[in-house]
C-alpha cells in the first residue's frame, strides 16, 4: 500500500510540474503586459523600464526558475496589476469563493436531486416534463444572463437583495442561485438517469416483490445507490465552482477567485493567472490523489494491479 501511495504521489507531483510549465508558457503567449501598464504615449525607455520592473526582461528559463523556486518558498510572486503578493490576494479571496461555492452547491443539490427523483419516479408524467424543461433551461441559459435577471427583478424592482458586493448573508443569495442554477440542472439530469437505471435493477424489483411500500423502495434501495454518481459529480463541480465562477463573480462584483482570475487575464497579470490556475489544479490533483488512495484502501484489487 505505501508503494501504491508513493506511486500516485509521484504522478500527482508530475502533473503539477507539467501544469506549472504549461501555464507559465501559456500566459506568455498572450503578449506583453507592460503595454497595459504604461500610458499610451510612453516611449521605448519607459516600456523597457516597466518590463525590467516586472522581471520580464530576463530569459524564459530564468523567469521559470524564479517562479519555481518561489513556489517552494511559498512565494507566488507579486501581481503586476495590484503590486501586492499574489498569495495574499489569493488567500483574501479564497474564503469568499468557498462560501459562495458551498451555498451554490447546497442550492443545486437541494433543487436538482428531488426534481431528478420525482422525474424518474413519474417518468413521462407532468413532473418528468417539468424536470426536462428545467434541465434544458438550466443548461441553456448563460449564468451572466440569469444573474442580470435576478439583479433586475429581486434587487432593482423588489429591493429584496443588494445588487452586488459581499458582507452579509443577503449578498450571497443571488450569486449562489445564479451559480447553482446550471449545476442544479446537471445534477437533476444525472439523478434522473441514475434513478431510472437503479429502479430497473433486480434488487429493486425484489424489494417490490417483497411487498415493501413504494416510498421505502425509492428512499432506501433506489435513492441511496443512485446517489453515488451524483455525489461524485458534485465533488468535481464544487472544485469548479470555487475556481472558475468567473462570470457570476464579475456580474455580482463578488470578491472571489473567479473574479481574480478574470482580472488576471484582462490585465495580463501573469503571476495572478499562474497562481490561480496552479492552485486550482493543485486542488484537483490533491482530491484525485486522496480518492485514488481511498479506492485502493476500499478495493485491494486496485493496488495489486499496480
Amino acid at each position: 500500500m505505501p508503494r501504491f501511495a508513493l506511486h500516485r504521489l509521484g504522478y500527482s507531483l508530475l502533473s503539477l510540474f507539467l501544469l506549472s510549465v504549461v501555464i507559465f508558457l501559456f500566459v506568455r503567449v498572450t503578449g506583453d503586459p507592460a503595454v497595459l501598464l504604461v500610458e499610451p504615449g510612453a516611449g521605448a525607455a519607459d516600456m523597457a523600464a516597466m518590463r525590467h520592473q516586472l522581471g520580464l526582461d530576463r530569459s524564459l528559463p530564468v523567469q521559470y526558475w524564479s517562479f519555481l523556486t518561489g513556489l517552494f518558498r511559498g512565494d507566488l510572486g507579486k501581481s503586476f496589476y495590484y503590486r501586492t503578493p499574489v498569495l495574499e490576494l489569493y488567500l483574501s479571496r479564497l474564503p469568499n469563493s468557498l462560501l459562495l461555492a458551498a451555498v451554490a452547491m447546497a442550492f443545486s443539490l437541494l433543487l436538482g436531486i428531488p426534481t431528478g427523483i420525482m422525474a424518474a419516479v413519474r417518468t413521462g408524467g407532468w413532473w418528468d416534463g417539468a424536470g426536462k424543461v428545467f434541465a434544458l433551461l438550466g443548461l441553456a441559459m448563460p449564468s451572466f444572463w440569469v444573474g442580470l435577471l435576478l439583479i433586475l427583478f429581486f434587487s432593482v424592482d423588489l429591493g429584496w437583495f443588494p445588487s452586488s458586493g459581499s458582507g452579509t448573508p443577503l449578498h450571497l443569495v443571488m450569486p449562489a442561485i445564479a451559480l447553482g442554477w446550471y449545476f442544479a440542472a446537471a445534477h437533476m439530469r444525472l439523478t434522473r438517469s441514475s434513478m431510472l437505471e437503479v429502479l430497473g435493477s433486480d434488487y429493486v424489483k425484489l424489494a417490490r416483490l417483497k411487498g415493501l411500500p413504494e416510498w421505502r423502495v425509492i428512499a432506501k434501495h433506489a435513492f441511496k445507490n443512485a446517489l453515488i454518481p451524483v455525489l461524485t459529480l458534485a465533488g468535481i463541480n464544487l472544485v469548479i465552482m470555487v475556481n472558475v465562477a468567473v462570470v457570476v463573480e464579475t456580474v455580482f462584483a463578488w470578491p472571489g477567485i473567479g473574479r481574480l482570475l478574470y482580472e488576471g487575464i484582462t490585465f495580463r497579470d501573469f503571476p495572478v493567472v499562474q497562481a490561480t490556475v496552479l492552485l486550482g489544479g493543485g486542488m484537483i490533483v490533491i482530491v484525485n490523489f486522496f480518492v485514488d488512495v481511498l479506492y485502493a484502501v476500499i478495493d485491494p484489487r486496485i493496488r495489486y494491479e499496480r
Binding site: 499610451p40 504615449g41 483574501s92 442580470l148 462584483a253
Partner: protein, 508 residues
C-alpha cells in the same frame, strides 16, 4: 478696562463661542467605480500617465502643484512657484504648517525624496531632464534642469505624472514600499482606513487638511466592473455615484426618477487615423479620399447614440481645453460632397479600403463610423481586437488600413503632436516636413506666445492635410443618486472623476 467690562467681554465671548456650531464632516458617500482598484494607486510613486490613479490620489495625497478648479497648475502644497528666465530653474516655496496624516510636517526633504523615488510613467524623461534638486531651506526647493524645457510643469505639475505628489520620507523609509501600499499616509483631504484589493477602498476625512475641512466624513470606492450591475447598484441606492455609462444604459438611467447624469469631458478626442495614407499605392494616400471619409461621418448622430449627445464635436483632434490647442469649426456631414470627392479622386463607385479597427472597448462607435463610410462607398472590413493585443499592434505599427484612435494622456498640444505627428513620435507613421519644422522650433522656444503661434500652425496643417479626421470629444458619463448635492464633477477640467474631494457634499 473695568472688571465689569472684562466680565462682560468674557461672557460675550463664551456666548458667541457656544452659539457657533462646530462644523464637522458627516455621512458616507459611496462610489461604484468601473475599474478594479489596485494597490499601486495608493502610492504616487507608481502612477501611470493615465487619469485612473488620480481618482485615489486626489483623496489620499497632495501635490506641490496640481490641476484644480480654474487652473491646470494650481499651487497646493507649494504656496507659489516660479521659473527662471532661462527656463533652467524652477523654485517652489512650500505652504507653511501643512502636515501629513501622521502629523509630520511636509518639508523640502519630502519633495526631493518623492521625486527621486518616483518610477511611474514619464520617470525616464523627467529624470533625464532634471540635473539636481536643491533644498534651499526646509520650506524651499529648487529644481535645476540640464537644458531649457518649457514643458517641465506640464509633466511635474499636472496629471501627466505622479512625480509632484508628495509622500512622507520618514514614514516610507520606516515601512518600505510594500508597507506604504498597505497603510499609505499622505497629505490629502482623506485618510486611509482600509483597502481590499480589487474590491473596496475606505477613507475618512482629515480635519487638518490645509485647503478646507472635508464635508463628507467617509468615502467608499467599490469596484463594480460590470456596467449593468453598476447601474442596478445606483438605482437601488447601494452606491451614490457610479462611473462610466454609455448608450442604452445611460439612457435608462436618464429616464429613472431621482437619478441624474453628469458627463465631464475627457482629454480624449476620437479621430479617424488613416494608417495607410503614407503608402503611395493606397487610395488613402489621396487627400481627397481622406477628406471624403471625414465628410461621410454623421458625428452628431453617433454622439447622440453613444453618449446621449454629451460629447462635443470639434474640428481639431486635440481637445480645446489643452494648453496651446487650436479651436477649429466642427467638420461638416455631407455625404453628397464626399461621393463627389471620391469620384474626383478616381473612385466613382467607391473602393475596398482594407481593414477598419475600432479602438477597444468602443467597438459599437467604430462600427457606426464604418457604416457611414460604407454608405459613401468606402468599404472596409471591421476588425475588432482585444484591448491589450490592439495596443501592442498599435505600438508596433502592425495595424493596417484605417482605425479609430483616441488617447487620454494628460499634457498639452505639444505633447500630443510629439507622440502622434512628430518624426520621433511613438505612433507617427510618416512626416510632413513643414509640420516637423514647426514642432522642432516650438520645442526650443521659451516664449509661450511664440510657441503657441508655432503650435497653432502645426495643428492647422494637420487638419489641412487631412492627416487625421476628428470625430468627437469623449464624455465620461456618471450617474448620481438622490443623496448627492455636490459630486465635484468637472470642477477640474478634463478630470474624469470627483475632485477635489473636499468639495464633495451630501444633501442635509
Amino acid at each position: 478696562m473695568t472688571p465689569g467690562m472684562l466680565r462682560g467681554f468674557v461672557v460675550l465671548f463664551l456666548a458667541v463661542a457656544l452659539a457657533t456650531p462646530v462644523l464637522s464632516a458627516e455621512g458616507t458617500l459611496t462610489w461604484g467605480v468601473h475599474v478594479t482598484l489596485a494597490a499601486r494607486w495608493l502610492d504616487p510613486q507608481e502612477t501611470e500617465g493615465v487619469i485612473t490613479p488620480f481618482m485615489v490620489l486626489y483623496a489620499l495625497h497632495d501635490a506641490l502643484v496640481k490641476p484644480m478648479p480654474g487652473s491646470m497648475n494650481t499651487p497646493s502644497l507649494a504656496e507659489s512657484w516660479s521659473a527662471s528666465k532661462d527656463a533652467l530653474t524652477y523654485e517652489f516655496v512650500l505652504r507653511k504648517g501643512v502636515k501629513f496624516h501622521n502629523g509630520d510636517p511636509v518639508t523640502a526633504e519630502d519633495v526631493k525624496f518623492s521625486f527621486e523615488r518616483y518610477k511611474g510613467s514619464a520617470a525616464a524623461v523627467l529624470k533625464a531632464k532634471v540635473r539636481e534638486i536643491q533644498i534651499v531651506d526646509p520650506g524651499r526647493v529648487r529644481f535645476h534642469l540640464n537644458e531649457p524645457w518649457p514643458d517641465f510643469m506640464t509633466f511635474y505639475g499636472t496629471s501627466a505624472s505622479g512625480a509632484g505628489w508628495i509622500v512622507p520620507k520618514k514614514y516610507v523609509e520606516k515601512v518600505g514600499d510594500d508597507g506604504f501600499k498597505r497603510a499609505p499616509i499622505g497629505a490629502g483631504p482623506y485618510k486611509f482606513v482600509s483597502f481590499n484589493p480589487g474590491v473596496e477602498l475606505v477613507m475618512e476625512a482629515f480635519d487638518g487638511y490645509w485647503r478646507k475641512k472635508p464635508s463628507v466624513q467617509r468615502l467608499v470606492f467599490r469596484s463594480i466592473t460590470d456596467e449593468a450591475t453598476r447601474a442596478a447598484a445606483l438605482k437601488r441606492g447601494d452606491v451614490d455615484i457610479a462611473y462610466l455609462f454609455a448608450g442604452p444604459i445611460a439612457a435608462e438611467l436618464h429616464r429613472t426618477p431621482g437619478l441624474r447624469l453628469v458627463a465631464p469631458l475627457l482629454s480624449g478626442v476620437f479621430w479617424l487615423d488613416f494608417l495607410d495614407q503614407w503608402d503611395p499605392k493606397s487610395p488613402w494616400h489621396d487627400k481627397r479620399v481622406r477628406q471624403a471619409a471625414s465628410l461621410a461621418i454623421d458625428r452628431a448622430a453617433i454622439n447622440q447614440a453613444e453618449l446621449l449627445g454629451l460629447g462635443t464635436i470639434h474640428g481639431n483632434w486635440i481637445p480645446p481645453q489643452f494648453e496651446f490647442a487650436l479651436t477649429l469649426p466642427p467638420p461638416a456631414y455631407d455625404p453628397t460632397k464626399a461621393k463627389a470627392l471620391l469620384a474626383e479622386a478616381g473612385y466613382p463607385h467607391g473602393f475596398d479600403a482594407g481593414d477598419f479597427h475600432p479602438f477597444p472597448p468602443y467597438d459599437s462607435m467604430g462600427e457606426a463610423v464604418a457604416n457611414y463610410l460604407q454608405a459613401v462607398g468606402i468599404r472596409t472590413h471591421l476588425r475588432t481586437m482585444e484591448r491589450a493585443a490592439f495596443l501592442t499592434a498599435m505600438r508596433e505599427k502592425t495595424i493596417k488600413g484605417v482605425m479609430i484612435n483616441i488617447t487620454g494622456a494628460a499634457g498639452n498640444a505639444a505633447t500630443r503632436l510629439e507622440a502622434y505627428v512628430a518624426k520621433s513620435g511613438i505612433y507617427s507613421r510618416g512626416v510632413v516636413p513643414e509640420i516637423e519644422d514647426l514642432l522642432q522650433r516650438q520645442a526650443r522656444e521659451p516664449d509661450p506666445r511664440v510657441r503657441q503661434a508655432l503650435l497653432h500652425q502645426a495643428q492647422k496643417l494637420v487638419i489641412d492635410h487631412a492627416l487625421y479626421a476628428p470625430i468627437y470629444q469623449l464624455a465620461f458619463i456618471w450617474g448620481l443618486g438622490p443623496r448627492v448635492e455636490e459630486p465635484a464633477a468637472d470642477l477640474i477640467k478634463m478630470h474624469a472623476y470627483s475632485a477635489p474631494y473636499e468639495d464633495v457634499r451630501l444633501k442635509k
